[in-house]
Symmetry: C2
DNA sequence: TAGATTGTTAATCGATTAACAATC
DNA sequence: TAGATTGTTAATCGATTAACAATC
């Protein structure tokens, strides 16, 4: 893989911005406008595209439809991606009901939980006992999973998923996990994000206060 | 601010790893072990600490309690941080019921929604009409907010929050937002994370296939 | 053509890592 | 003391940005 770590995430942002431009009736777009909508520089946009051999027209910008087509191929949107979810607690249940995945070609096909009370086959997406996970993953050739179990159970869950053959895991549990090289791991950690925000806000308040104090001293 | 962008996120990870070590009965820890638990290098750990003037004992490592104390001060854990949430849909409701925030000193004090049917003062965390947001933020001096509204409404929501005086926003809506300089913005984007994982898994499969083809050609 | 935008190279910037002197 | 670990400096690595030639 040549391209850099953040590039794919940006391609994903370009795609969603392009969909918005398209729905507003735009046919073509310049790197400048797309950059603005995605919150990056126009050089970044052109660089990202050139990494993937996406070409525009000098002086004419990019055709939105053609661009979307190419991004969809890169991001694997040409076929629906089946995903499973482990842990049907508050967060897991919210993701099961989240409607935006489907329009992005991502489908949560099944959930698993260790608690029999949470298991059901009576809703749109079934929740099965954890004991059936390995068989399901093997039979359905599932490659992507989402972990929504408590931190204490997260590593064991990951181990089980890896053993079953899962190759990519998105972990919502607030703990760093260890996976073998052939399984990718991403994190969503809301606590950490909030802590980071709180730090920034506090740091700015402190520096504002110092600025004010200096100003007061000059008077 | 001297320190780098990812440093605070790592401090947050160190903190949670240290809490686990502590609960296992450890008193002291070396940068090596902490690094391993947080998934980074030991040089990174020592560098991060030195940026904040956190010192250990040469040859003796770090006292876990003292370390946690210092990290808590840096991360603003010495006082409870009040946070509001806008948009009480699936994701918003899941966050309202999420119990891990409290033990991190983060408290969602109130939620807001434009839909009167979602509003209630009969549960632990009230859900008020959006029209009361500005008054509430001003009166309670809220500085941090979480946006869980649909993408289409996210920018207007952010504008409203900024106008009311919020200084840091965590956005769950899948769209890039624009905020003035004095308001920090972070994102949680589950679709993007999944797309990134799918890309990596597909890329690895492709490169494995090429490897196998080459091997087959050599036979 | 003149003007504007792409595509790419080289420069810059920032973050991570390696290495090792200081020292407990 | 000898050995091991910290704290820090310098080297490396990678990502972003600036700049501009190519060209539509």
């Amino acid at each position: 893989m040549i391209e850099n770590k953040n590039c794919i995430i940006r391609l994903s942002h370009y795609k969603s911005a392009l969909n918005r431009f398209k729905s507003l009736g735009f046919i073509k777009i310049f790197s400048d406008y797309l950059a603005d909508a995605a919150g990056v520089s126009s050089a970044q946009v052109r660089k990202d595209f050139s990494l993937f051999g996406i070409a525009g027209n000098k002086r004419g910008g990019y055709q939105i439809d053609a661009l979307l087509e190419q991004l969809n191929v890169i991001l694997g949107k040409n076929q629906i991606q089946n995903v499973i979810l482990v842990g049907a607690g508050h967060m897991g249940a919210a993701l099961l009901r989240y409607k935006n995945f489907e329009k992005e070609g991502i489908r949560i096909v099944c959930a698993f939980d260790i608690d029999p009370a949470k298991c059901t086959t009576k809703q749109e997406i079934p929740v099965l006992p954890l004991s059936e996970l390995e068989k399901y993953v093997a039979e359905q050739a599932v490659r992507i999973a989402i972990i929504c179990v408590p931190a204490i159970a997260a590593q064991a869950t990951l181990d089980m998923l890896v053993k079953a053959g899962v190759k990519g895991v998105l972990n919502f549990a607030p703990i760093q996990l260890k996976a073998p090289e052939d399984c990718s791991l991403s994190y969503v950690n809301v606590e950490t994000e909030l802590e980071n925000l709180i730090y920034k806000v506090n740091a700015r308040e402190r520096s504002d206060m110092i600025t004010r104090e200096k100003a007061a001293l000059q008077d």
